[in-house]
Amino acid sequence: MQEAQSALQASYLHHQGRYKGLLGWIFSTDHKRIGLLYLYSITTMFVVGLLLGLAMKFELLAPGKTIMEARDYNATFTVHGVIMIFMIVIPGLPAVFGNFLLPLMIGAPDVAFPKINLLSWWFYVAGVFLVLAALLFGSGTPDTGWTFYAPYSFKTGTNMLPAIFGAFVLGFSSILTGLNFIVTIHRMRAPGMKWMKMPMFAWTLYGTAWIQLLATPVVGITLVLVALERIFGIGVFDPALGGDPILYQHLFWIYSHPAVYIMILPAMGAVSEVIPTFSQKHIFGYKALIISTMAIAFVGYLVWGHHMFTAGMSGTAQYAFSLLTFLVAIPSAIKVFNWISTMYKGSINLKTPFYWASSFIFIFMIGGFTGLVLGSLATNVHLHDTAFVVAHFHYIVFGGVSFSFFAAIHYWFPKIYGRMYDEHWAKVGWIMFFIGFVSLYTPMFYLGMKGMPRRYYDYLPEYHGANILSTFGSWILAMGFLVIVVNLVRSARKGEIAVANPWKGKTLEWTVPSPPPFENFKEIPVVGEKDGPYNYE
């Protein structure tokens, strides 16, 4: 206990650098502090996005106008989307847990470019303020949806430019994080840590970093073109001047589809850490998991057209995109089988992170299978732009991020704060969130199949029942979220002092004290010939 107390005092949390107090955080180049900066800013934005989501669900509690006009509803789903995608889903796991854990996992003192890492967080903050400026000032809140589809995005009178510019800056932040991770993994692995000895989470960060690097610039230039279209009228996406709005959709989704994989790969990585630790067993199919990670990263880059099946693409392109979409299902399924096989005959330690990780698999599978329904051409025509699509991508994107994020935060909580969370309330939070999630989105599958379109503030009376269930679900989910946050905040201050390795994890971050000292490792560890990330022999 005494030892743990002194670890807390010597940790990065209390390290005295050039600046004191808050400045010591927002100007810190320490990867652990930057990870927490991201954690706090992302959580703040998530609350904003969640409130907007709750407002939308409240509007749909009854047909007709409930609390807002159609215009306000359009603005609400736009801002909800922009915040959730660009500020939470994309930076979520890589920027928070990637920053905190990558150097610890590979035995490095920091990331390769600590200053650029800090700059990335500052870009994030700048992007957030730019988008918020679009809401508060100027000629009305953007109402295009987060996709900024042309030609409406340069025809609408609302305040688009700050929002577009904000998304651009957020993209830059994401690129810098990715760049840093790739160089860190290439150059800073501890002696003996060969590529095939890296923990799965580090591997998935590597895959994600490449997508961040190679996909984000495409949306960057697309947003620049939309902005130029608005300012100068250059004509590239304006059908009146010969431009092709479908080309906008191509370019937009070349980024925005891989963006889903930016999120899902580290989510899968976090789950791949939690499951072996709590099954107390070597991970099953380590190589298959790595190959499937890279396969998802690569094929996922090439499937963007499945967002545009009804937009007027050529039939040949539709076949190609449908085929490629189905291909992504293969590596995804490999991962699921590997996780299940890891649990098989393991000695399972039923703690909260394991609850979150195994429910992640459940949620992810529903999201994945409904994705195949949308990926096949015939059913897509019926379901396109209905509530079914909304349910599908919330299962994948929101479910994928939130369940893996909560698995990760509970799993690494002792490492981050040096204290244990309260197991009882953590499980209460989990069950509420889970029930809320399922009852929020499952009715929307049904509504979509019945023909309820997305992005409408009103609906026909026959959709009423399912919508009530969905809105109730949103309330349970929000309450569950509250329980989780209160429990974690309280535990970070008053929780039981944690030992260095409370879960008997086998990756390097568990070899340092909890919370880790400022310099991570007193001496850079050497990974032996027989050591591996999941060696439970």
Binding site: R187, L214, I246, H250, I254, Y301, L302, G305, G312, M313, S314, G315, T316, A317, A320, F321
Partner: protein
């Protein structure tokens, strides 16, 4: 790692490469002024690709760097080509 010996490229190599690049530039101007129909674009792009290759290999030192950097560069170009081909599956058959 800071003491790794680097290959010092002799100045005359750069001069020779510049000469080649200039010749290719004038060749592409020359060939595009002849009426070749649809081959004109192909010819211009062909010369541009050779020039790119020379710049990447000699000016940007890929020849002297560890091979994995070159592999990354190749992979990025390949990815771009695949993306453009897939995009054209739409426009060619619309």
């Amino acid at each position: 790692m800071s003491n790794e010996k680097h290959h010092i490229v002799p100045y005359h190599v750069y001069v020779v490469i510049l000469g080649a690049l200039l010749i290719l530039t004038f060749a592409s101007i020359g060939i595009t002024s002849i009426e070749l129909g649809s081959l004109t674009v192909a010819a211009a792009l062909f010369f541009a690709v050779i020039k790119t290759y020379l710049v990447l290999i000699y000016f940007m030192h890929l020849k002297y760097d560890k091979p994995y950097i070159g592999i990354m560069v190749g992979a990025v170009f390949l990815l771009f080509i695949v993306v453009i081909i897939i995009t054209f599956l739409d426009y060619l058959y619309r």
